[in-house]
């Protein structure tokens, strides 16, 4: 990189970067500060005197307490966790097998099938939610976690398959051939040689699938109805707003706590997440 004097570096790089980081992270700061701010301070008009919006001297846990005592928040967290983990496992299982088949095996229609999976990758959830709700009702899955565990793979499998194809293609064919010469069946060569080599890819796909299912909203909104079955995004939306009244303290506390599992998973596997994200874009 060709760079000039120090002031130029500040004007052209550091200051813009600081502004970017500030704007991108400010809403999260706002979430945190609102969570711990007592109601008395929260509902002060923006032009009130002595109003100090960016800090509070009277931090409180009342909003978090409200969340756990007055709503089913803990239940929503468990529901979301169960749904996200289950649908991630199903999608990884299907995606790894399908990715292997499409990347490694010669069979008729391989190209066409690959294209079809890529196209389903591009189908947004909002295209099919109404007929899908009917189908879920006909299968008598409505208002159960299975309605989501079975439908989330429709957007997770294509993604996992596509990502895994890239990883499988990068593993040298000779590795598998060696195993085959030593007498391993195709199935065993795949399970014991190729899939272990693709573990970093599986981890990336799993983490992204987990965050995507945690994030999903419209299916959960339409398929679930009883307060006990809801996921965090839907529960927060429907139970913390009564008519026109927004319970902003508990709402922000819910948003903060509801983000934490995703943030923890992400913080442990940032590199895997990023490589999966960029890998999916390279295609």
């Amino acid at each position: 990189m060709i760079e000039g004097a120090a002031w130029r570096r500040w004007v052209f790089y550091n200051i813009p970067l600081i502004l970017f980081v500030f704007v991108l992270l400010f809403p999260f700061y706002w979430m945190i500060i609102t969570t711990f701010r007592p109601d008395g301070e929260l509902y002060r008009p923006w032009n009130a005197a002595n109003y100090m919006p960016f800090w509070t001297n009277n931090p409180t846990l009342e909003h978090i307490k409200y969340l756990f005592e007055e709503t089913n928040f803990a239940r929503w967290m468990l529901n979301t966790m169960f749904i996200a983990v289950s649908s991630t496992i199903i999608s990884l299982f299907c995606g790894v097998l399908a990715g292997y088949a499409l990347a490694r095996l010669n069979f008729p229609w391989a190209g066409a099938l690959g294209t079809m999976i890529f196209i389903t990758y591009l189908v947004p959830q909002t295209l099919l939610f109404i007929p899908l709700a009917e189908i879920i009702r006909n299968f008598e899955l409505g208002d159960t976690p299975w309605s989501l565990i079975l439908t989330y793979p429709t957007f997770l499998i294509p993604f996992c398959t596509w990502l895994m194809m890239g990883y499988f293609k990068a593993i040298p064919k000779e590795l598998e051939e060696c195993a085959r010469i030593d007498g391993a069946s195709r199935w065993k060569a795949m399970v014991y040689i190729i899939i272990p080599c693709a573990l970093p890819g599986i981890l990336s796909a799993g983490i992204i699938a987990f965050t995507l299912s945690w994030n999903e909203f419209i299916y959960a909104l339409v398929f679930l109805s009883s307060p006990d079955e809801k996921t965090v995004p839907v529960g927060v939306t429907s139970e913390l707003i009564r008519g026109d009244v927004f319970f902003w303290g508990p709402l922000m506390a819910g948003a903060l706590l509801g983000s934490i599992p995703v943030a923890i998973v992400y913080s442990f596997f940032v590199e895997h997440y990023v490589s999966g994200l960029t890998g999916s874009v390279k295609g």
Binding site: M1, E3, P16, L17, F20, V21, V23, L25, P27, F28, W30, M31, T34, Y43, W46, N47, L97, A98, A101, L105, F107, A110, L113, T120, L122, P124, Q125, T126, L127, F129, I130, L132, P153, T154, I157, P158, T161, S185, R186, W187, T211, W214, N215, I218, V232, P233, V236, T237, W248, M252, V262, A263, Y266, V270, Y273, V274, T278, V281, K282, G283
Partner: protein, 309 residues
């Protein structure tokens, strides 16, 4: 290495079912089966069901009967639907331009060595990974008519004297959801484009600099063309997701005020689930399909052309 069979002991043969998996075609069939079943049941079948539904007069609790293209004729004459179509295009177009420009800028800021780079990169992705509904609530709170921190800041910086009614005014409501969408999308663009930038050899830029190319010329003639394939794929994903967006608008404005921020998906939800007019809702959702199809085909063709070049 020769296998010597011990006399008298039958060499154990794999059972026929497993032997069949030695054939690539059978193995492929077995491996693709779970995917095919799930995608068939929950994508292909709903799609067919959706088409049938949109051609019927079904409502909640009433299966209805075949009515041909009546639903589509009806939404075509529906002024709210037309607003929603226009809004969707405007929303998608404006956000994509900004996400690309800002994302590219951020990617270039990150594409050099500085202290704490890994940390900054990890933090700026947060808007993209935190569940959209939850982060959108933070924005809704920041845009609150009476307690807006944005208004407070602008007021104390001396930029405004009156409050700005972010979500109450039709034009400002659209601007607000556009801002939030850009905020959420920029990290994805930046990180993906950064990966693309890192594959471009710095020697190319240095050689051009030695030959006297100005920074702008270097960007336009070297970086941009080499980055184009990645850019197009990122745009493809982003455009589809934005075009079909639902949760952000649902939380921020619910399509209001006076349908000023209604999109395809929010209007389909409002009619199909809110009012119970299943057939019309399905028709509105499906009306997205031709647009999405054209966008995907056009971008895929363009990507192929760019990659061949």
């Amino acid at each position: 290495m020769a296998v010597t069979a011990v006399p008298g002991v039958e060499v154990r043969r794999p059972i026929p079912r497993l032997r069949r998996l030695e054939d690539e075609r059978w193995l492929a069939l077995a491996l693709l089966m779970p995917t095919a079943v799930l995608l068939g049941l929950f994508i292909a079948y709903p799609f067919v069901e959706g088409v049938l539904l949109s051609l019927s007069s079904a409502r909640v609790g009433d299966p209805g009967h075949f009515v041909g293209l009546k639903n589509f004729a009806k939404i075509w004459d529906d002024s709210i639907f037309r607003t929603a179509v226009w809004n969707t295009f405007w929303y998608t177009g404006v956000t994509t331009v900004f996400k690309l420009a800002l994302g590219l800028w951020l990617a270039m800021l990150l594409n050099r060595h500085f202290k704490g780079k890994a940390l900054v990169r990890a933090f700026i992705l947060l808007p993209f990974i935190i569940p959209t509904v939850l982060s959108t609530f933070a924005w809704k709170w920041m845009f609150d008519p009476t307690f807006s921190v944005i208004n407070w800041s602008l007021f104390h910086l001396g930029i405004i004297t009156q409050r700005i009614n972010w979500l109450g005014d039709p034009d400002l409501a659209m601007t607000s959801i556009i801002i939030v969408n850009i905020w959420r999308g920029v990290p994805f663009f930046a990180i993906s484009l950064l990966a693309g930038l890192q594959t471009i050899s710095p020697e190319l830029n240095e050689a051009a600099a030695i030959d006297g190319a100005r920074p702008w010329a270097r960007f336009w003639h070297i970086t941009w063309p080499l980055l184009l394939p990645v850019t197009m794929v990122v745009m493809l994903f982003s455009v589809i997701q934005t075009f079909a967006d639902f949760q952000l608008v649902y939380v921020m404005t619910g399509g209001g005020p006076a349908n000023a921020t209604q999109l395809f998906a929010t209007y389909a939800y409002q009619l199909g689930i809110g009012t119970g007019l299943l057939s019309e809702g399905a028709a509105i959702s499906l009306a997205m399909f031709p647009f999405l199809f054209i966008i995907v085909v056009a971008q895929l063709l363009y990507i192929r052309r760019v990659e061949v070049r």
